[in-house]
C-alpha cells in the first residue's frame, strides 16, 4: 500500500467552514420556540438548603417554569449522576443528583433551573429566587482536610479521605540503606483549569414522532454520554441521539458528564419544548471541572554516580467534592512518576481527599504534568547534590532503547502493566540539547550575568501513556456514487480528526481525499464509541479506519474482478479506480463497482460478492502506548519584578508514526502553551471558606500571544507495534513536561539567589517572596 496522504501536512478539511463563519457550534443551532435555561447555583461551598422560594420568579413575564430537585423526573430524583470510573479503592464517590437535593458541596452546584422565552429573562428570574441556606463548615485546604477532626466536605462522612492508593515495586529498605545520597523534596502544584474558549452548552429536543431525545452538546464523549443518559433516565438507548457538533476546545473537562446534561433534556420532556443552555464564563469558572492540585513529598536514593536506587513518596490529591472520574487522575500521577528512567524501587502512598470545591477530573496531561514536575524537580535537586549536570544525571538513568519493551513494575489505569513499547530516550535528549545549544549556554549565561541579566536553562524528559482502550470504531462505506463516507466514534474539539482519518482512509482505500467525507460525533452514525481523551483517537480510531478501509478495498477488488474477468490478486487500486495491474485503462471506477455490487432490484448477485462496500471495525488496543520526549526552555528572570520571559522553547518529541505533521506540531505548540499557563500564570484562588476568588479572565490569567514563545520542534518516529499504523497520539506531550522545564530554567536563572521553587504557578509575587527570603537570609 502506497503512502500518499499519511505523513504529509494535508490542509485541514475542517478549516473553510470555520474560517468563514459557517461552523456549527451548539449555541449556533436555533430551533424555533426554544426555551432558554439559566441555573441557580450555590453561593456557598458547603450548606444545607432549607427552602427555595421561586414564586416571584414564576410570576415574571416570559418565565415558563422554575424547577428544583423536587420537580425533576423520578429517575433524576432516585439516581445520582454516574461515576464513570468506579474503582474498589474509592471509599465513597459521593456523586450528586442533577439538581442538589438538600446539601450543596461546592460554590457553583446547580440547585434550580429557570426556563424562559429568552436568556435575558431567565437571568432576570434568577434574582427573584430566594434560597434559604444553613451554611456548614467544610473542607477547603487539602492538607487541613486530612487532619483529625477536620470538618467534612459532605455532612454524612466521618472524614475526607476518599481513597488510599499504595503502589510500587522493588526493595525500598535496601534501596535507601545502601544509598550514597538521599535527596528530599516537597512540591505543590496548584489548581488550574482547561478553559476552552467555548463554554459548555446543551440543547435538547424531544421528538414525539420517534420518541427520541435528541441532544446537542459540546462533549468530548458523545457515545459515553448517550449510554449513561439512557441508563440513568431508564430509556432504551435507541431513543437517545447525541450530537456533538463543532466543539470549541475541550482539553478534558468536556469528557465528564455534568448535571446540566441531564437537567436540560429533562426540562425538554417536562415542557414539551426545545431547551437550550449555554454556560457563561463565570459559570465555567465555578462549575466546570478542574485539575492539578497536588502536594508531593518524597525522598530519592541514589548511588554515588547519580544512578537511581529508589524513590519513596507521599502525595495528597485534591479531588474536589465528587468523584466524577474516579481515581483516574491520581492513579495516572502515581504511575507516571518513574518516567523515562530506570528506577529500581518505588514506593508510593497517595491520599485522595475530598474538599468543598468543584470536582477534579483530567485536564490536558491528566495527572502526568504533576508527576513529571515531581520526578524532574527531584532529579534537578539530585544533580546538585551528586555534582552532575542536569542533562548528565538524566542520561545516566534513561531506559535504553535496547531495553524496550520495558516493564516498569506498575499497573496502569487501563488495568494493564506499564510497559514502554518503543522510543529512544537518550537520542531524544540529544536532539533537544543540540537544537537548544545547551552546551554553550553557560557562556551565554555568564555574558548575560555580566550585563546584570539573569538567564537560565531548564530540561525535563517525560513519557506519556496514550491510546487507552477499550476501543474506538470507524466505519468506511463506498457509496453508489463512488464517494466515500467514514463514520467514527472520534469526537474532535479542534484536533482535526476529519482530516487525519481522511488521510488514513485515502491511503488504505486508494482514493483521493477529496472523495472522502469523515463524519464524527454523532451517535446514530456508528453504534458504539468511547470518546476523545488520553490522546486516544489517533491510535484507536485511525487504526480502525485503516483496517475498515483495507477490508472495503478487498470487497471492491472482488466485485471488480468479476466485472473485469480478472483475478482479484491481479488488481490494483489507485485514485478511486480498480484496475488490472500494469494496465491502468482496464479498470472500473469506484462508482461503477459500487453500482454493480448494489445490483438491480430482484436480480441475483454473483456468488461470493458483498452487495455493500462497507465495513465497520472497532480497534481494541492491548494496552497503552508511550510517546516520549525531552523539552528544554531558556528563560530570563527579572529579579526585581519577578517577571519571567521565555526566550526559547525546544521540544524533541516522539509520538510514533506521524499522520499529519502540521497537526502534530500544532498539538505540541498548544500543549506547551497550556503548560506555560500552569507554570507561570494560572491560579484558581479560593478563600478560606471555599469561595472562588478568580472568576473572570481579568483575575485568572491565560497565556496570551506575547507570553508564549515559538516552540522549536524536533520529531522522531518510533512506531508502536500495538496498532497497524504505529501512531501513538500527540495531544498532551506538549503539556506534560512544560511546568517542570520552566521551573528548572527559572531556578537556574536565579542560582545567585539560591532559590528553590517548590510551588507553581510562579507568579511574580511568589518569585519575589522566594528571592527576598533568600537574600534576607544572606544579609
Amino acid at each position: 500500500m502506497s503512502s500518499t496522504w499519511v505523513g504529509t501536512s494535508v490542509k485541514r478539511v475542517e478549516d473553510p467552514a470555520l474560517l468563514s463563519g459557517r461552523g456549527q457550534f451548539v449555541d449556533d443551532i436555533h430551533i424555533p420556540d426554544t426555551l432558554h435555561a439559566a441555573f441557580v447555583r450555590s453561593p456557598h461551598a458547603h450548606a444545607r438548603i432549607k427552602s427555595i422560594d421561586a414564586s416571584a420568579a414564576r410570576q415574571l413575564e416570559g418565565v415558563v417554569a422554575v424547577y428544583t430537585y423536587a420537580d425533576m423526573p423520578e429517575t433524576l430524583r432516585t439516581n445520582t449522576l454516574p461515576n464513570l470510573q468506579p474503582n474498589p479503592l474509592l471509599r465513597h464517590s459521593m456523586m450528586p443528583h442533577a439538581l442538589c437535593a438538600d446539601e450543596v458541596c461546592y460554590v457553583g452546584a446547580a440547585i434550580a433551573v429557570v426556563l424562559a422565552n429568552d436568556r435575558y429573562i431567565a437571568e432576570d428570574a434568577l434574582e427573584h429566587i430566594v434560597v434559604d441556606y444553613q451554611t456548614l463548615a467544610g473542607a477547603v485546604d487539602v492538607v487541613d482536610a486530612l487532619k483529625p477532626g477536620a470538618a467534612t466536605a459532605h455532612a454524612e462522612l466521618a472524614d475526607n479521605l476518599a481513597a488510599d492508593i499504595n503502589l510500587g515495586y522493588g526493595e525500598d529498605a535496601a534501596a535507601f540503606n545502601g544509598a550514597a545520597h538521599i535527596v528530599r523534596g516537597k512540591f505543590v502544584q496548584h489548581r488550574g483549569t482547561a478553559h476552552p474558549i467555548e463554554c459548555r452548552a446543551v440543547q435538547a429536543q424531544f421528538d414525539t414522532l420517534t420518541q427520541t431525545m435528541r441532544i446537542w452538546t459540546n462533549t468530548q464523549t458523545p457515545h459515553l454520554y448517550k449510554g449513561s443518559y439512557a441508563e440513568l433516565m431508564e430509556v432504551p438507548e435507541q431513543q437517545v441521539h447525541v450530537i456533538a457538533p463543532d466543539v470549541g476546545g475541550g482539553f478534558g473537562p468536556k469528557v465528564v458528564l455534568y448535571p446540566e446534561q441531564f437537567v436540560v433534556p429533562a426540562c425538554a420532556l417536562l415542557t414539551g419544548r426545545a431547551v437550550k443552555w449555554t454556560e457563561d464564563r463565570r459559570e465555567h469558572f465555578i462549575s466546570a471541572t478542574m485539575e492539578r492540585d497536588q502536594h508531593w513529598d518524597g525522598e530519592l536514593a541514589l548511588n554515588a554516580d547519580g544512578t537511581l536506587r529508589g524513590l519513596r513518596a507521599r502525595m495528597l490529591h485534591d479531588m474536589g467534592a465528587h468523584a466524577m472520574w474516579g481515581l483516574v487522575t491520581p492513579w495516572i500521577s502515581c504511575t507516571t512518576v518513574p518516567g523515562p528512567y530506570v528506577l529500581p524501587s518505588y514506593k508510593m502512598h497517595c491520599q485522595v481527599v475530598m474538599t468543598n470545591k468543584v470536582a477534579v477530573t483530567p485536564v490536558r496531561g491528566a495527572g502526568r504534568p504533576q508527576a513529571a514536575y515531581f520526578i524532574e524537580r527531584m532529579l534537578d535537586r539530585a544533580a546538585e547534590v551528586v555534582g552532575l549536570e542536569r542533562d548528565e544525571i538524566r542520561r545516566r538513568n534513561y531506559v535504553q532503547p535496547e531495553q524496550m519493551p520495558y516493564e516498569v513494575g506498575l499497573i496502569f489505569r487501563d488495568g494493564r502493566p506499564v510497559i514502554y513499547d518503543t522510543g529512544d530516550y537518550p537520542a531524544l535528549q540529544k536532539m533537544a540539547l543540540v537544537r537548544s545549544d545547551w552546551n554553550t549556554f553557560k557562556q551565554r549565561q555568564a555574558a548575560a550575568r555580566a550585563e546584570g541579566r539573569y538567564i537560565g536553562i531548564g530540561i525535563a524528559s517525560y513519557i506519556e501513556a496514550t491510546g487507552l482502550g477499550p476501543y474506538e470504531g470507524s466505519s468506511v462505506h463506498v457509496m453508489r456514487n463512488g464517494k466515500v463516507i467514514v463514520h467514527t466514534g472520534a469526537a474532535p474539539q479542534g484536533q482535526g480528526h476529519q482530516t487525519m482519518i481522511g488521510q488514513v482512509v485515502a491511503d488504505a482505500l486508494g482514493v483521493n481525499m477529496s472523495e472522502i467525507t469523515v463524519k464524527t460525533s454523532d451517535t446514530v452514525t456508528i453504534p458504539r464509541g468511547i470518546g476523545t481523551f488520553a490522546s486516544r483517537i489517533t491510535p484507536n480510531a485511525s487504526p480502525a479506519a485503516h483496517q475498515a478501509a483495507i477490508s472495503v478495498q478487498q470487497k471492491l477488488k472482488k466485485v471488480a474482478a468479476h466485472m473485469l474477468e480478472a483475478a482479484a490478486e491481479d488488481l490494483d487500486v489507485a485514485d478511486g479506480r480498480v484496475f488490472v495491474r500494469g494496465v491502468a485503462e482496464h479498470g472500473k471506477s469506484f462508482a461503477e463497482v459500487a453500482r454493480f455490487a448494489n445490483s438491480l432490484p430482484g436480480f441475483a448477485l454473483p456468488k461470493g460478492l458483498d452487495p455493500v462496500l462497507q465495513e465497520t471495525v472497532y480497534f481494541a488496543p492491548e494496552q497503552a502506548t508511550y510517546p516520549c520526549g525531552t523539552h528544554v526552555a531558556e528563560v530570563e528572570v527579572d529579579p526585581e519584578l519577578g517577571a519571567v520571559k521565555i526566550l526559547r522553547y525546544v521540544t524533541a518529541h516522539d509520538c510514533g508514526t506521524i499522520i499529519n505533521p502540521a497537526s502534530v506540531e500544532g498539538q505540541v505548540m498548544g500543549g506547551v502553551a497550556h503548560g506555560i499557563g500552569n507554570a507561570l500564570l494560572e491560579r484558581m484562588e479560593y478563600d478560606d471558606n471555599g469561595q472562588p476568588l478568580t472568576v473572570n479572565f481579568g483575575e485568572y490569567l491565560l497565556p496570551t500571544a506575547p507570553s508564549v514563545p515559538a516552540v522549536e520542534q524536533e520529531h522522531m518516529e518510533s512506531p508502536t507495534p500495538l496498532n497497524p499504523l504505529g501512531a501513538k497520539g500527540a495531544g498532551e506531550g506538549g503539556t506534560i513536561p512544560a511546568i517542570a522545564v520552566i521551573v528548572s530554567a527559572v531556578e537556574d536563572a536565579l542560582t545567585p539567589f539560591k532559590v528553590h521553587i517548590n510551588n507553581v504557578p510562579m507568579t511574580p509575587e511568589s518569585l519575589l517572596d522566594n528571592i527576598s527570603a533568600n537574600t534576607g537570609a544572606q544579609s
Partner: protein, 187 residues
Amino acid sequence: MTQELTIELTINEKSYQRSIPVRLTLADFLRHELNLTGTHVGCEHGVCGACTVLVDGRTQRACLTLAVQADGSSITTIEGLATGEELGPLQQAFMDQHALQCGFCTPGMLTTLTEFLSENPDPTDAEVRIAISGNLCRCTGYENIVRAALQAARTLRETTPGASTPMQVDALDTDHARAQHARGAQQ
C-alpha cells in the same frame, strides 16, 4: 418588558432594520436575531476577544456593545471577510499555516488582524503578537496565528498597488524563536 428601539445598520454590506430590546448585546443581536453565528461569545466580559467585530472599520467587542449603540454603523463580521466561497488572503493564510484548531477564537482573531494589517501592512512578529494580545486562544499556542498574519501581510502587500517595500525577513522560512532569542539577547 424592557424597552425596545428600532435600529438601522449595515452588516457585511447588507442593510437591516430591526426593533430590538435596548439591553440586547450586539453579539446576541448578530447571533440570535440575524443568525450570523460566525461571531462567537467566549467570556461575555470583554477579555477573550472571540466576539470582536469591525464597527465602521474599528475592532469592537460585540459582547460589551449594546446593539442599539451600533445604530447607523457599518459592521463587518467573519461572514463578511470571504467573497462567496473563496477565502480572503487572511483566511487563506490561517488555513495554510494551521492557525486554527477548534476555530472558536478564530472570528475575533480574523477581525482583529484585519484592522491591524490595514494600518500596519508590514508588521514584525512582535507587533503581531501585541496586536492579538487581547484575543485568547487555548488551542494553538499562537505561533501559527502569528505566521498566518505575516503571510497575509505579505500577500496583501504583493496584491495591493503602492504597498510598502517587501519584508526584509521572510518570517515563514525563518526560525522565529531564534530570531526572537537574538532580539532578546540584543536588548
